[in-house]
């Protein structure tokens, strides 16, 4: 398993220009998502304070929190995969040749890519469904297709990250068959 709180220093050193662009985009999106959570903290404080002190909460605070949290969480996945943050079992493979480990990681990344693409597609379809039926949130009456649609870019980025990492692992094996590096 990877260390999740370590600064991912040096991760990008083997990335090509495309990979660096992907990492920069994912990182930017993840920072945006993280700051959305910071903003949600501020909103919750205002709402709790307002409710306790003046009996005046932010209307629909729970709904805003839910919608924004769904969007913000979706922005985190691609970044996490690019810095090797996934939870993996590496007990059985840590003594194996690096090229073999890289092959397995390529398969893992490919599956991540497919997962991202599948979820992006289905979440997009879900958003479209909500748009057609005109589904809205209970209290604020906000259209529900918007938060669902906002989640799609995060998962598209996850798909790209998965496919990119898959290619990176494979390239490492092909280029250096003896010492093929594992990420």
């Amino acid at each position: 398993m990877r260390e999740p709180i370590d600064a991912p220093a040096g991760v990008a050193t083997r990335f090509g220009p495309g990979g660096r662009g992907l990492l920069a985009t994912s990182k930017f999106l993840a920072i945006v998502g993280g700051l959305v959570f910071v903003a949600l903290v501020v909103m919750s404080i205002i709402s709790i304070g307002g409710r306790k002190l003046f009996l005046l909460p932010v209307p629909g605070d729970v709904e805003i929190l839910q919608m924004c949290a769904a969007f913000a969480s979706s922005t985190f996945f691609a970044y996490c995969h690019l810095v090797n943050g996934d939870v993996k079992v590496d007990f059985f493979t840590h003594n194996m040749a690096r090229s073999r480990v890289a092959t397995m990681d390529a398969i893992g990344s490919l599956l991540i890519g497919l997962f991202g693409a599948l979820i992006a597609w289905r979440t997009g379809a879900g958003a479209l469904g909500s748009l057609v039926t005109g589904e809205t949130s209970t209290i604020l009456g906000w259209p529900l297709w918007i938060p669902q649609a906002l989640m799609v870019p995060g998962f598209i980025l996850l798909a790209l990250a998965g496919f990119y990492m898959c290619g990176l692992h494979l390239r490492g094996i092909l280029r250096k068959p003896e010492t093929g590096e594992a990420a």
């Binding site: 919750s44 969480s73 480990v101």
Partner: protein, 443 residues
């Protein structure tokens, strides 16, 4: 093929995928989705339809938002310099004793655990602060790193605790009650670790020399500096348990308080804020990917009726309830050799929880049983963080203590592991230890 056999095949394939390094969440998702199609007689359309809402339904779950918020709180706490203040405070009171600096590291870990829900973060943060001090006073490498690796697990044992939130969501248990129930076992864990230090330095005084005496005036000053930590902890736990705030709101209050502390006393600026956002992003994505996979898996397991049938089989098998519980705990210890604590909870609770709830333990009520089992599961999955071969905390501390060999650190945690086992037996045979506060302060 019966649903239960499908369930077993799903588990087998999933474990095989995990062995070949497929990310755990993805392994769960792949077998869950395949099993779903099989159990619905090849109805791919039904699967695709249910996937439409998977991500939004899960990620917009109100209770689940508590996780990124607690992680953000931990990030702010890390940037806020609170770890140093905690260490200085506890070492002012304990440092002059033999082994006192190691005890202070453990106490400071417990304090940090009270505002941080992650063991790895606790170990890493306290390691940075305490290791140089332990080295300066000539502590042996195995005692210094062992105490910190074990102390780091207090991060999840003392609430807030991310695994307990996951347990609560899976079992629809109250987060507040689980947090309350974890307080005494967490304190026992801390005292147990301190006792271990005491025993080690009694046997080998050179392992942990005494530090300097600190004046009472200085002690009070340092105590005042950690007062905010205590305040945040009390507000969060009492707020949730007293029904004054929902867990999500309490987490927001905690995150805000730690953020303000980080701004004022820790000198956090834009750079620190961005680092906190990224740290939260990575830790959250790691957990949520496993959660999305587990959602798919659990839908399929429910469809296969395997958990219910297995629970009924265990109930009717005539096995002694305590024996069943014991076996479950042993399985956790073995799983902990290869798997992350959260993945273990997500994977096993849907199977083990109905089993435990179907058995009778000293006539305990369902509510008590579910809280008691939650605390036991937490304590036992946490052990995986310090025992070989995975022992993430051990690796983190060892990486920080460059001059201590890894085998030394693993040797160092053994006595602490013994105290873990003793505590688990205590909690197993005396459920009241976990349930006392829940009963004493009925909300």
């Amino acid at each position: 093929m019966s649903g239960t056999s499908v369930g077993f095949i799903i588990f087998g394939v999933m474990l095989a995928l995990m062995v070949v390094r497929v990310p755990i969440g993805i392994a769960m998702f792949v077998v869950g989705a395949s099993g779903y199609v099989y159990l619905t007689d090849g109805n791919v359309a039904a699967l695709l339809n249910s996937l439409k809402s998977l991500a939004y339904a899960r990620l917009s779950n109100y209770d689940l938002v508590v996780i990124p918020l607690f992680l953000l709180m931990g990030q702010f706490a890390t940037h806020g310099g609170l770890s140093r203040a905690l260490f200085r405070c506890v070492s002012a009171f304990l440092g002059h004793r033999k082994g006192g600096i190691a005890m202070a590291s453990i106490g400071a870990c417990a304090g940090f655990g009270a505002i941080c829900g992650s063991s790895l973060a606790t170990a890493a943060t306290m390691g940075h602060v305490a290791l140089p001090e332990l080295k300066r006073y000539g502590y042996s490498g195995s005692l210094a790193t062992g105490a910190l690796a074990a102390g780091g697990t207090l991060g999840i044992m003392i609430p807030p605790s991310v695994p307990l939130v996951i347990y609560a969501i899976l079992t629809q248990e109250s987060i507040g009650k689980l947090f309350m129930a974890a307080v005494i076992p967490g304190l026992i864990a801390m005292l147990g670790y301190m006792l271990v230090v005491r025993i080690i330095v009694t046997i080998n005084p050179a392992a942990g020399p005494a530090g300097p005496e600190v004046s009472w005036r200085e002690k009070l000053t340092r105590l005042l500096q950690v007062f905010p930590v205590l305040l945040v902890f009390v507000v969060v736990i009492v707020g949730i348990y007293g029904g004054w705030a929902t867990p999500t709101e309490a987490a927001a209050i905690g995150a805000a308080a730690c953020g303000v502390l980080a701004l004022i006393s820790g000198g956090m600026r834009l750079r620190g804020l961005i680092d906190s956002a990224l740290g939260t992003a990575q830790a959250t994505a790691m957990i949520f990917l496993v959660l999305l996979g587990a959602d798919m898996l659990n839908t399929t397991l429910a469809l296969s009726q395997m958990p219910g049938e297995l629970a009924a089989w265990v109930k009717n098998s005539g096995m002694a309830p305590l024996f069943v519980m014991f076996m479950i705990l042993v399985i956790y210890i073995f799983l902990g050799c290869v798997m992350d604590s959260l993945a273990m909870i997500l994977l096993t609770i849907p199977i083990f929880y109905p089993m435990i709830m179907g058995l009778d333990f000293w006539g305990m009520s369902d509510q008590d049983k579910s809280i008691w089992f939650g605390i036991l599961a937490l304590m036992v999955v946490e052990i995986g963080l310090v025992h070989p071969p995975v022992g993430m905390n051990v690796y983190i501390i060892n990486r920080l203590a460059v001059d201590v060999p890894l085998t030394e650190t693993f040797k160092g945690v053994v006595p602490f592991l013994l105290s873990d086992f003793a505590r688990i037996l205590l909690l197993l045979y005396f459920p009241m230890v976990s349930l006392y506060l829940v009963h004493a302060f009925k909300a």
